[in-house]
Homo-oligomer: 330 residues x 2
DNA sequence: GTGAAAGCGCTAACAG
DNA sequence: CTGTTAGCGCTTTCAC
């Protein structure tokens, strides 16, 4: 089970390791004959290049670190797109997961040890001080989260506008009593809450703007929806912090015998795989994981090259599906 | 932004890098005074050890590779536990994600390049030939999947028994028309299907055993449930392939005005975070991610040390929550 | 208790 | 086109 090295191939082919390296990297400097022979031998010997050694030798590691949450479907979408965006630029992705039993500092630390050229934090929960400190050690990029910290790059969708789109859509359908179940302090929840208030006010519904504390999970959405249903006059539409939260809202409504969207309309956020599932068909605000990922890799590389941090704000898009309709009696 | 190395610390402290290494690793061989001084200087300089260099030098990389699916909540649970189990043995985890646009061979290949001592594939979709080939290159361990391939270790829960527990529970409640929505060829689906047939037969309900093609997603569950509802006499209970699938089943039932569990009981599989959410409270079969992860790391290390592959089968446990009850009119 | 020297597997100059 | 020489940052003998 001992791994084949370049030296083994060089010996077998009767050439130097440098030449093998040239062939393996596919750079010019070897005759076609040698190239073919080396490749054949490498294949026979089951050679797999040692990334660590390669990275160690190279001035730049060509690795981008990504800290993400294991249980956040939207992070899954982002990570998937980040792999592709990084690969397109010749970079590898080093993943480090955040979970209830593995906090963000731990995850980031692991990335630092891998000598990533830059780290991208997906919807990070770190505060300004921690972010500032991190940015002092490694080019740092916040993805899908708003923050104004010196030295930290940001790539995100315009959350204020995103929620605005949702409100416009619902008001256009005839809704007036609209509630927002927020992210309870999670990345982006402040912006979305503001966006909600702004948009409602714009429609002259400032006083009908109802905000409840929610969270990032189905559970949070379910709890908040239950609270709403306990009111004398529940809203006719709900905008949840994200798709998972919205799923909890829908479940609670259905469990209690309310129809979606006939009785209550529900809007999610993220357009994660959760929302597009045929049986869910959730109206949601798309952050466009693909564009976000592409912009993130772009800026991460710029930062790594010594560029100045920027804030890149992408426009979200409303994806109308089947969980929104005119309010009852409209 | 250029990283501090051991040489920098050695110079600043006026000692050799070897001594710094001794201190950083916390092994005996340095005086308390030196130790304290080195640690202080390292801290001041913001030193972070370079894992790549360390791994390269060490005979063993102390890294375990994990290929997992980004959108599978149960994989998230497993990964979280694997981090802890590996850390307890002094090992790091290298993550490589599988997603619709990133196939398993790609993910495994990335792991190989990192010189993992062993790779663990979570619910892999690789066939016997591919697994055999992989096992020839690196100690390979299948987690949460059944397979009988030479040289490949397996750590899984007893799926036949797991489904059996679900059937026993439902029959005990009085159900007789029970359907199983399967995994459509996914890892474990054969076992679960067999387990379903076995258990139903054991209860003399072999002819009432209804199996539908499903899948791993909410969507698959929703589609299958819709098909069941189109029948003249739909079942009074459904056992889904996993929690995601079960969620789709529940959603479809609720959407169509059926109550869960009053009209139809639903059982999931995995006991992922999805199932325990307060508003869901799904009855499900627990594979105990923690125990599975511990056993997996255990065997991965044994394999890496040259041990013979084994099949470790853990007993699943039925977690009764709120989606199962006696059938209507019972 | 401490340091010098030799590599881990690879790539990046250079020479030839 | 091909080979030699030097390391990347760290750990590991083996001296002192």
């Amino acid at each position: 089970m001992t791994r084949t090295t370049m030296a083994d191939i060089a010996k077998a082919a009767g050439i130097s390791t440098a030449l093998v390296s040239i062939v393996m990297r596919g750079v010019p400097g070897a005759s076609e004959a040698t190239r073919a022979r080396v490749l054949r031998i490498a294949d026979e010997l089951g050679y797999v290049p040692d990334e660590r050694a390669r990275k160690l030798r190279q001035a730049r590691s060509r690795v981008l670190g990504v800290a993400f949450e294991l249980q956040q479907p939207f992070h899954g979408d982002l990570v998937e797109r980040l792999y592709a965006a990084a690969a397109a630029r010749g970079y590898d992705i080093a993943l480090s997961a955040v979970a209830p039993t593995r906090d963000e500092p731990t995850a980031v630390d692991a990335l630092l040890r891998e000598r990533c050229e830059a780290v991208m934090l997906l919807g990070s929960g770190l505060d300004a001080a921690a972010l500032g400190a991190l940015a002092g050690r490694v080019p740092t990029l916040l993805v899908a989260r708003h923050a104004d910290v010196d030295g930290v790059g940001v790539v995100r969708a315009d959350d204020v506008r995103g929620i605005g789109l949702a409100v416009d859509h619902l008001v256009g359908l005839g809704h007036r009593r609209i509630a927002h179940i927020d992210g309870a302090g999670a990345a982006g929840s402040d912006d979305r809450r503001c966006g909600f208030h702004d948009a409602m006010s714009r429609h002259g519904l400032g006083r009908a703007a109802d905000v409840l504390t929610g969270g990032l999970t189905e559970e949070a959405g379910a709890r908040a929806m239950a609270a709403l249903l306990a009111r004398p006059t529940p809203p006719s539409a709900v905008i949840a912090f994200n798709d998972r939260c919205a799923t909890g809202v829908v479940d609670t409504l259905l469990h209690r015998g309310h129809r979606v969207p006939a009785d209550v309309s529900v809007v999610g956020y993220d357009d994660s795989r959760l929302a597009e599932a045929p049986h869910v068909q959730m109206t949601t605000v798309s952050q466009d994981a693909r564009a976000l990922a592409a912009a993130a890799v772009d800026q991460a590389l710029r930062l790594a090259a010594g560029g100045a941090p920027a804030e890149i704000v992408l426009s979200p898009r409303l994806v109308v599906r089947a969980t929104t309709a005119a309010p009852p009696g409209a």
